[in-house]
Amino acid sequence: MSDPKITPELIRQHNLTDEEYQLILKQLGREPNITELGIFSVMWSEHCSYKNTRSLLKGFPTRSSNVLVPAGEENAGVIDIGDGLAVAFKIESHNHPSAVEPFQGATTGVGGIIRDIFTMGARPICAVNSLRFGKLDSPEVRRLFRGVVAGIGHYGNCFGIPTVAGEVYFDESYEGNPLVNAFSLGVLRHEQIARGAAQGIGNPVFYVGPATGRDGLAGAAFASQDLTEESAEQQRGAVQVGDPFMEKLCMEACLELLATGAVAGIQDMGAAGLTCSTCETAARGGTGIEIELDKVPQRGPGMSPYEIMLSESQERMLIIVHKGREDDVKRIFDKWDLPWAEIGFVTDTGQMVVKHHGEVVADLPAAKLADEAPIYHREAIEPEYLKETRGLDLHSIQDTTDVEGDLHALMAWPTIASKNWVYRQYDYTVRNGTMVHPGSDAAVIRVKPDSLPVLSEDSPNRDVIPPEKYLAMSVDGNGAYVYLDPYEGGKIAVAEAARNLACSGAVPLGTTDNLNFGNPHNPELFWQLKEAVRGLADACTYFEAPVTGGNVSLYNQNPKGAIDPTPTVAMVGLIEDPSHITTQWFKNEGDVILLIGESLDSDDPYQGLGGSAYLKVRHGLKKGLPPRCDLTVEKNIHNALRGWIAQGAIQSAHDCSEGGLAVALGECCISGESARHTPHLIGAEIQLKRAEQDRLDALLFGETQGRIIISVPSVFVGKITGQAEVMNIPVEKIGTVGGKTLSIVVDKHQFDWDLSKLHDAWFNSIDQIMES
């Protein structure tokens, strides 16, 4: 059977433009065959090549004195955490597959990110995820939500790492385009960092893991286009199928193999499977690779070279082994009963050569494929819609007359409500490392000796027991803010992550970002991307939390429109001492409640209500400008808080975000719990000062940035307020912990909330929607 002829139609079906095809002709000096066309189409897809965003991503800060492997070099960045230990972490999306097949889309998203971590030689020890869905009143949205959460739980739980933190937002802009961003973090010793380069001419190339099937075929190309009504039917085959059990075995075997010193290079087969792993390792090594597809384990008979090269069957790894060490692979993979096959060798030609039944079916320049995809500088035009959104006149909105109803509505709003329906499906205690479970501002896990991959027998560190380390993690990203002001919204996403880390007692170490945006060919949407990246970059630089890697997911739109531009930011921080670990709920009756930061930004024409949850929930509006983010103010506040935590002064710390001060106070009163049906409700008596021009709704629910609520034993109050004055940080006493209600007094008005009722509305909101 002869190959199909390359026609313009076929080129289009492969998501390549005519210009790109011309470039291929130029690079090859001839026409490609169908297999080669397929290879180019996945390697030059947005997902693999970042062709539309590479120029923007250059703006990210990627270096610091802690960075051991910077962004862009390998599958994940690596950061030093002291005492010879390091962490590898990254976030990635699986949005398009989850829209079509939520369980498998989400589960393989988790599987994929875990592989990116252990391919660096690190043992993955936790997962975090950031999710976006449409509104929960739609049965279709509930179906996606249920499937995605079950899929995430399935992979993490079976693989055996705790899923310790996350966020979920519900907004109509994500209807039909759910966002599933999965993060994982692993640990290793510096000496264990593994690279994905095909080193050593003549070294054998091994394939390990389950057989290759037709699932996930061209998933990378699928991810690089808009979703349509036909997508669900046509693209289901592009959704990969995951097996976390297989991946657990594969990881253990790979880590054991790495400890033998037999590995010259290792790369997981993720997007674009065998294609990407062979060509990227060759490109990094400055070498070539030759493989014979007959040797690749296949799930069914008669798979074509095209299918084998483009398959995204999961849980497979490519391992380049030092010549002479082949027996180590066989011994270890046989021990774990895992399939393996020697499929090729490293050459010095710089070409990626693929054979099938002994005949060459692809012969392509590896470096050109991996590194010389076209780079586009798309047009960016400030969107028309901003004229309307920025035209909001706050005076046209009546101030609140039902504060009690407002708080109830906000606390029950799914985006703000407790996410326990989600995280009670995630094992968060496995590996005995989780010190702050889901439910606080940031998760905290500890790194202990069994967190590390097994060491090589001749390592000088064999008998060195490293000290415990404490890591905090948070993932954040408010799409509404970015929609209304991409630059400011981008800054805030980072500032919020840093603030959450500070509240847990941590110093930021590094960041990983997932940019979820619409079609980059639309100049207005590209402008959103450009501006958001600028905001993210400025803030990451300011907080000295370099970007270690991340992911770009474009084309998140369907015929109804694009999603709110949503960069999600996952930040990792280090806590010096376990006594500094801080949680968000009030602890003791009698503790004094202080507010760090200005309660209202006098320069904000929207008084913190622009883009706020309150404006959305109570007035159905997504308008205005988001609150201003002053990076200097933020950094000073975070530093001050960490200092007070180190002095032992802080009982609880919680930042103000969606829903503002009143929601944050509510959460401080009701979010503590020790077990099933065992919440620890603890009241507060609050008195707030209000200037004449301050709206009541803005004071209580405005989302002015740079604010943290702390509770401290009364004996520390003088010290804190004194130090704050010297540091020029606004700190004000706003109340006392105690009682059975949350009571807020503003001027002559007193507002009260019964804690059990508030807790019931907040805790059970999503459960009631999903389980009735």
């Binding site: 657990k248 499906q425 205690t429 590996r431 005995n432 500890r446 020790s674 077990a675």
Partner: protein, 252 residues
């Protein structure tokens, strides 16, 4: 009800003059994922833990064996269904037959039931969802190697993490188990009441853990090995391991 401050209480139980450490085996199946947690718990308590690979046909000299949590063999077929055919399980059956102490946790419970070493079976949570949360356990029979060190009325706060944790046994089996004191732990409220809403998975009679008739093999769905240090949420799980250690000491 006054609760003993577990960590303080336990720290005063000293291994007076007992320099020897007991040796706990921790079975490892493909897909076990809480094996390192069992090792961690035993080491926190100052004793030795050794992994025993599923292909081993002999356990070696061990004082007790732990069958850990996880998804052995991917939970293919039924949770624990394939693990029971592993070579190491024959050695385990012999060990149990000779009175050796065996404690199964979560997937370990499932494996022991599939292997016929414990009565009953574990099926899908009634919620049809995976459940991960801290629960309270009330001890029903304090006169076993697994419970003898647990103070009267002491509730244990320990985490669960399972999708198939609903314990089932038919009426006559349950009657027999009850009359032989084989019900060891039940799910309870923070006040110690064994009530429906304290039950996270629908287990009959709120049963969280059981033992065999001979009283040397026990298992529970909650994870005591994940509750041996306050730093990670609770140290109450230590009571179960302390009971085993005390029993081993008494037997010497």
């Amino acid at each position: 009800m006054t609760q003993v401050d577990t960590e303080t209480e336990l720290s005063t139980i000293s291994d007076q003059g007992n320099a020897s450490k007991f040796s706990f085996g921790v079975l490892q199946f493909p897909g076990s994922n809480s094996d390192q947690d069992c090792v961690n718990a035993i080491e926190v308590l100052g004793h030795e833990a050794h992994y025993v690979w599923h292909k081993e046909e002999s356990l070696g000299h061990l004082d007790a064996v732990l069958v850990p949590g996880g998804f052995s063999y991917g939970d293919y077929l039924r949770a624990g269904a394939i693990a029971r055919f592993s070579p190491v399980m024959r050695a385990l059956a012999d060990f149990a037959e000779n009175g050796g102490l065996v404690l199964g946790v979560c997937n370990g419970f499932q494996i022991l039931c599939e292997a016929g070493l414990l009565p009953g079976a574990l099926i899908l949570n009634r919620s049809l969802q995976f459940r991960s949360e801290f629960v309270h356990l009330s001890t029903v029979n304090s006169d076993t190697p697994f419970t003898k060190a647990i103070p009267a009325d002491q509730l244990m706060r320990v985490p669960i993490a399972h999708g198939e944790g609903c314990y089932f046994a038919d009426g006559s089996t349950l009657n027999e188990m009850e009359s032989h004191g084989q019900i060891l732990w039940k799910y309870a409220t923070a006040q110690g009441d064994v009530e429906d809403h304290a039950n996270p998975n629908g287990s009959v009679h709120g049963i969280a853990g059981v033992c065999n008739k001979a009283g040397n093999v026990a298992a529970l769905m909650p994870h005591p090995e994940r509750a041996c240090q306050e730093a990670i949420g609770s140290a109450d799980g230590q009571w179960i391991f302390r009971s085993l250690i005390e029993h081993l000491k008494d037997a010497k």
